[in-house]
Structure formats: C-alpha cells, structure tokens
C-alpha cells in the first residue's frame, strides 16, 4: 500500500512539473500583464519600471527557477492582480466551489436515483421512456447553454430565482457557508441544478442498469418467492447493490464537477475558484493560474487515491497496482 501511494505521489509530482513548465512558458508567450493594466499615460519608463518590479524583464527560465525555488518552500507567489498570496486566494474561494459541487452532487442523487429506479423497474412504461429521454438530453446539452436559459427563464421571465452571485453566508468552523441561510440556498439552487445535470444523467443510467441486473438476479427472485414485501426487497437489496458502483463513479466524477464549475461559476457569477481562474486568465495573472493548476492536480491525486483505496475496501478482488504488472 505504501509503495502504491508513493508511486502515485511521484507521478503527481511529474504531472505538476510538466504542467508548471507548460503554463509558465505558455502564459509568458501570450503577453505581458503589465500592458493590460497600464494607464494610457504610463510612458515607456513607467512600463519598464513596473515590468522590472514584477521580475518580468528577466528570462523566462530564470523566472521559472525562482518560482520553483519558492514553490519548494510552499510559496506560490502573489497574484499580479491582487497582490495577495495566490494560495490564500484559492482557499478563500474554495468553500464556494465545494459548496456548489456538493449541492450538485446531492441534487443529482436526489433526483437521479428515484428516476433511475423507476426506469429500471418498468423499462417499457411511457414514463420510463421520458426519463431516459431526459437523461439523454441532460447528458448532451452543453452546460453553458442550459445555464443561460435557466437565467432567462427562472430569473428574468419568472423572477423566481436570483440570477447572480452567492447569498448570505454563515461562518461554521471558520468557513463561510451559504446553504444554511434562506438567501444562500435560494442563490445556490439554479447553479447547482445546472451543474448537476450531467451527473444526474450518469446516476439515472447507472441506477437503471443496476436495477435491472439486480431484479433478474436469483436472490431477489428468491426473496420475492419467500414473500418478502416488494418495497422491502427494493429498499434493502437493490439499493445495497447499486450504490457501490454509483458511489465509485461519483467519486471519480466529482473532479469533473469541480472542473465544470468553471463554466457554471462564470455564468452565474459564483465567487468560486473556477471564476477566479477565468478572471485570472483574462489578465494573464500567471501566479494565480499556476497556483490554481497546482491545487487542482493535487486535489485530483488525492481524489484518485481515495477512490482506489475505496475500491480495495469494497471489492477485495481488485489488487492495487495490478495494472503495472
């Protein structure tokens, strides 16, 4: 196990180095952030002074070495735009993204599970066809388009939902959360639902497939034959059997949700890390972009590690590291 984890960490480091090189040099080629910020009256001497102050006049490889040196000490540098340590900015805005992602996950399960079970129980019913059609559409429709339509329909036309931003927050364990206040929840629903659609499609399909598999398995038939009530059969046996694959897939897809949050956050002006990334890209805030990436790589490594470990716990037949044999 220790060897497995170590190998994973080494891989992550490799990815990290490749990513930082790419981004560092790439962003540098695109342009110079000073030109974006500069006032029209800032003359050549003024530009040169700022560029020197930010260290942007030095060769890129030199800037990169300085950056890596600082990184080794846990310093990701200050955001060009905000002058605040980039890591601090990320942690400040992470709760909003996590809140959105978890809410999307819960919505996907709360809506997807019952729908999927229904579709699995009576596959030929009209309602089941509707459900599968819905899952196909929610899987196919581009997230940004549905987000825009949601704003137009629910906030502008109907006026039921706020269009932008996060509601009031309450501090719990030193972190601001908004889902505990009414306004917070109110603001959360539209973006979370938009974000949950793709995941919901997955849940519906997995539940339906699992449902059908289990329903035709011998022990369910046996249980029925023994007169166990239908509802009980469903709730106990079926749920237990289909939850395992769903949990694992969702564990892996959670990363995808965080990534798609970039899109949803920029549509709904949700103050999370995804919107921060897009804003950072617009002004070439290199420290911010790089810090976000490092953070994401780190998060994915942890997430994948957890899923792998979970696998071994759920299914002893999976032997860790078997793939590298």
């Amino acid at each position: 196990m220790a060897e497995f984890i170590l190998r994973r960490i080494l891989q992550a480091l490799l990815v990290l180095i490749v990513m930082t090189v790419l981004v560092f040099f790439g962003v540098n080629v695109i342009g110079n952030p000073v030109y974006i910020f500069a006032s029209s009256e800032c003359d050549q001497a003024c530009l040169a002074r700022i560029i020197a102050d930010l260290g942007l006049d030095r060769p890129v490889w030199e800037q990169y070495l300085v950056f890596m040196g600082n990184l080794a000490q846990g310093d990701l540098g200050n955001s060009f735009t905000h002058g605040v340590p980039a890591l601090e900015l990320i942690f400040e805005r992470l709760p909003a993204t996590l809140e959105l992602a978890v809410m999307a996950l819960l919505l996907a399960l709360a809506i997807g599970l019952p729908l999927g079970m229904r579709a699995g129980l009576k596959p030929n019913a009209f309602s089941s066809r509707l459900i599968m059609g819905f899952s196909m559409i929610s899987f196919s429709v581009p997230v940004f388009w549905i987000g825009l339509i949601m704003i137009v329909v629910f906030s502008v036309q109907l006026g039921w939902m706020p269009a932008v931003g996060r509601g009031e927050t309450v501090m719990i364990f030193g972190i601001d959360f908004s889902f505990v206040t009414f306004s917070g929840l109110h603001h959360l629903i539209l973006p979370a639902f938009t974000l949950s659609l793709i995941m919901m499609a997955f849940v519906i399909r997995l539940t339906r497939a699992g449902m059908r598999e289990v329903l035709y398995s011998d022990y369910i038939k046996f249980a029925r034959a023994n007169g166990v009530r239908e509802r009980r059969v469903l709730s106990l046996h079926v749920m237990k059997n289909i939850l395992i694959p769903i949990v694992t897939v969702l564990g892996m897809e959670f990363g995808g949700i965080i990534a798609f949050a970039v899109v949803v956050e920029s549509i709904f002006s949700w103050p999370g890390v995804g919107k921060m990334l897009i804003d950072g890209i617009a002004v070439l805030d290199r420290p911010l972009i790089v810090a976000y990436l490092i953070f994401v790589v780190f998060m994915f490594v942890i997430l994948n590690l957890l899923v792998d470990i979970l696998y071994t716990l759920l299914d002893p037949r999976v032997r860790l590291g078997a793939a590298s044999a």
Binding site: G31, Y35, F37, E92, S155, P162, V170, S269, V283
Partner: protein, 535 residues
Amino acid sequence: MKKWLVGLMAAVLLAATPGVAQEVLTIGVRSEASSLDPHWTQLSADLQVQEHIFERMVALDSASQPVPGLAVSWEPLDDTTWEFRLREGVTWHDGEPFTAEDVIFSMDRLRGGISGAPASPAFTLEKGGKTWEMIDDYTVHIYTDGPYPTVAEDLAMVPIVAQHAAEGVTASVDFNSGQAAIGTGPFMFEEFDPGNRISVVRNPNWWGGDVQWDQVIFRPVGQDSARLAALLNGDVDMIDYPPTIDLPQLEENPDFAVSTIPSDRLIYIMPSYRHVEEFIRDNDGNVMVPNPMRDWRVRRAMSLAINRDAIRDRIMGGASLPTRNIVPPGFFGYVDDLEADPYDPEAAMALLEEAGYGDGFQITLHGPNDRYINDSRILEAIAQMWSRIGITTEVDAMPRNIFFSRLIRGDELTMPGFDVPEFSVSMTGWGTVAGEATYTVSGTLETYNAATGGGNGNFGRYSNPAIDARSVLAKQTIDPEERLAILQEAIQIGMDDYAYIPIHFQVNNWAMSSDLVHEPRTNERTLAIEVNRAE
C-alpha cells in the same frame, strides 16, 4: 448545533425588526476591484470602489474637471512652485486628524515604489520632476523642474492614505483586510469578499456633509446579460455597463431608469506608418511599397467610408458620440469646429482612385474583443464598410490579454527584441483621465520617443514636426488660454492629416431601478454619493 440555530433565529429576527430603515444601495459592476490599496492600480474598477473610502487633494467633478478635494485651493507661486492649501478639520475614519504629513507620506509611499503593484499611479509624480515639501500642517508646496501646468490634474490621480494606518503595512493585502483601509471619504470599509462583494458603510463624520446611504454593496457580475438580469429581478439596485442592445427597452420600462454621459474614452482606428506593413497587401497578396496608409487621402477615404451613425444606432443602442475630436466636449482642448466625418462612400472611392488605389487592396484590422463596449462588433461593422469601397478587410479580434501585448510590443516570438508594434491597422481606445488634452496630444500625436515619454501611445509611429513642437510647448505653458490655443492647433493639424481616425466617444450608461436618480460621470466611475432616492 443549538447555538447555530439560535444564531440563525437571531439573524432572522434582526432582519425582521423594523427599527430604523437601513438605506442600502447594491450596485452590480462589470469588473471587480482587484485591491483596496489606492496606490495599487489605475483601473476604473478599482478606483471607483476606492474613491468611496479614499480621497485626493484635487477631486474631479462629473466632467473630470479639477475641483477642491482635500485641498481647498492651489495656485502657482512662480514658474516652478505650486502651493496647495489643505482642508482643516478633516478626520480619518478612525478619528485621527488629517494633516499635511499624510499628504507627504502618501506621495513618499508612491515615490518609494509599491512593490508588486501592476499599475501604481507613481508615474504621475514623476511627470515634470515633481518634489514636495510640507510648509505647515495645512500647506504643501510642489516643485517642478521647469514650468509645468498640470500639477493639479496630476494630483487628482494621487489618493491620500493615512500615515498612522498605512505606514509599514504590506501593500494591497493589509488594505483588503481593512486594517489600512482608513480614509477620509464618505464611506468606511466594511467587508471585502473577493469575487462576491465589497461593502462600505456610511462615514457619519464626512466633511462633505450628510451621506445618504447607510451601506453600499458592490457585486461583480462580469456577464453583461447576467448583470442586466440581476437588475431586472431586483438582486441589485443599479448596474454599470448595461448591454447597449437593451438600452431602448430599459428606457421605455417605467420600473427602470438609465443615466447617460459621454465618456472620456475615444475609440479610434490607428494606421501604422512604417514603409512596409505585414497586414496590408495588394489584391494579389503581395506586400505593398509604399504602404498606402502613408497617403493621407487613403486615410481620409477610410474615415469617410465609416458610417458612424449606423454604428451608433445599430450597435451601440444609440449610446455613442461620433466625433473627429480627441477629447470629449467640455474637456480642456476640445475643438468646436471639428465635426465627425460624414458617411460618404462615393467621395471615399474617388479619393482612393485619386491616390492610385482605385482597385483597392487588402488589410487585416486588429482589435480587442473584450475591452471596449461592443468592440468586436464595431470591428466587424467597419470591415463591412471598408470592404464596400474596395479595401477588403479581414477582422482579427482577440482578447485584451493578447491584444495589448501585440499592439505595444509585437509578437515576441516572431519579432525578438523590443518595441515593435505588430499591427498595421488596429482599433483601440484612449481615455483622457486628466480631463484635459495635454497628455492626449503628447501620448497619441507626438513622435514616439522612449527617452522623453513622448508618443507613448503612438503605436502607429505617426510623426509630424509641426505637432511635436506644439505638444512640447503645451507641456510647459502655464497660462491656460495660451495652452488651450496651442493644444487646439496641434489637434487640428493632426486631425486634418488623419493621423488616426476617430470613430466615437463611448457613452457611459448606468441602469437603475426607477426610484433612484444618478448624476453620471465622464470618467466611467460609479460613485454612491452621486446616487439618490428619487423624490
């Protein structure tokens, strides 16, 4: 768990208690302030929030003309000395008195350099080689190298911070936390929640009188249509930059009001004057020698081919001011009889014919697509219009993070080295922040000179000795009338020569619920002090 419930209930009760009605103004803004350190950048998005908290010696009125701020008066004592008398009885938000020491501290802080600041206003202090001295608690002298007329305009860009609060703090960080965000302005720092909201509360002791809002909240909403949606469904009371396409509907809607004023931002086409241009080709795709942009008839033809009224009506929702001036009406240097060129494609084609380009040629028009109001749509419209007179135009619109680097320096991969603007014909904008034309003439019309800073925005490398002489002279002429005459001459010469092709001044718009009235500002900033409840 229980504590949490009690807290929640208390919060609900508090919100429900009638008590004194809180006057809260929520403003949806296009761009978020990046920092509350007023010496950090020169971005309007930053300044407009900071100006609620911090003030300057010289304030700008809604037409960007200098008016007393923390200084009550100023005058030149001789050619190189200006005396500023400060306002007495002003206190900082924490109750400490404001004195000349704070002014000196603020200017010293800028001169010392704000480490990491991407666009500090320090350069305004460099201009004219300014030095300063405290005479007494309420008098400051500013010295310049030689005669220098625009000291007051420059100081309007220098926010004053409190020495006792800002000494030794970390730039930006300690201001964002509120620790050093102690100003003299009408509002006091309350909260900076990045990406979500910035809030300020009323300063009960403001020297300028009663402040009408108990709390002002800025919410960044970058998406134009989402910002409008937030206004329409009441999330916010007011927004800046309403999508121009929706302006007619907003104006008709009795629940909403729109405020409008011409901006100081000129949108113009900048031709490039080098002998050979990469992006100008004849109809067979060959580079043209000489570069047709060097013929003023071609430039005039291109100007005449632009239907500025159509751009205003069809793209800008009526919100633009077609022009041939370089500063907006009301600004020092505006030339009354410079009228926007009429739309005259026949005359344009005749001019091209006369210049020997009757068969036309091909150009690529470069410009940003996320910087100016409707920029990429204007680019496309101009390309349509030029294509009609035979100048086949391709548009290459790009995000500002790419555009400005290439505009100023060119592509560093293909053009290693420095200082080589890349584009042959580009559309860009120039904001006359100081409210007067001296540095607009110097920045856009003077010959590029890295040593003196002349022509720092002249990326087309236009060069005209008649303008250079006047521009240099204007920068040293203190007498306003004399300087005005010189500036107007320079502008007239430049525009008659079509040094560049002005399209229009942007018009600033705000949209708000109809129970608000707003006095709009030329310089694009949204200030709560200028918003009132309608009677």
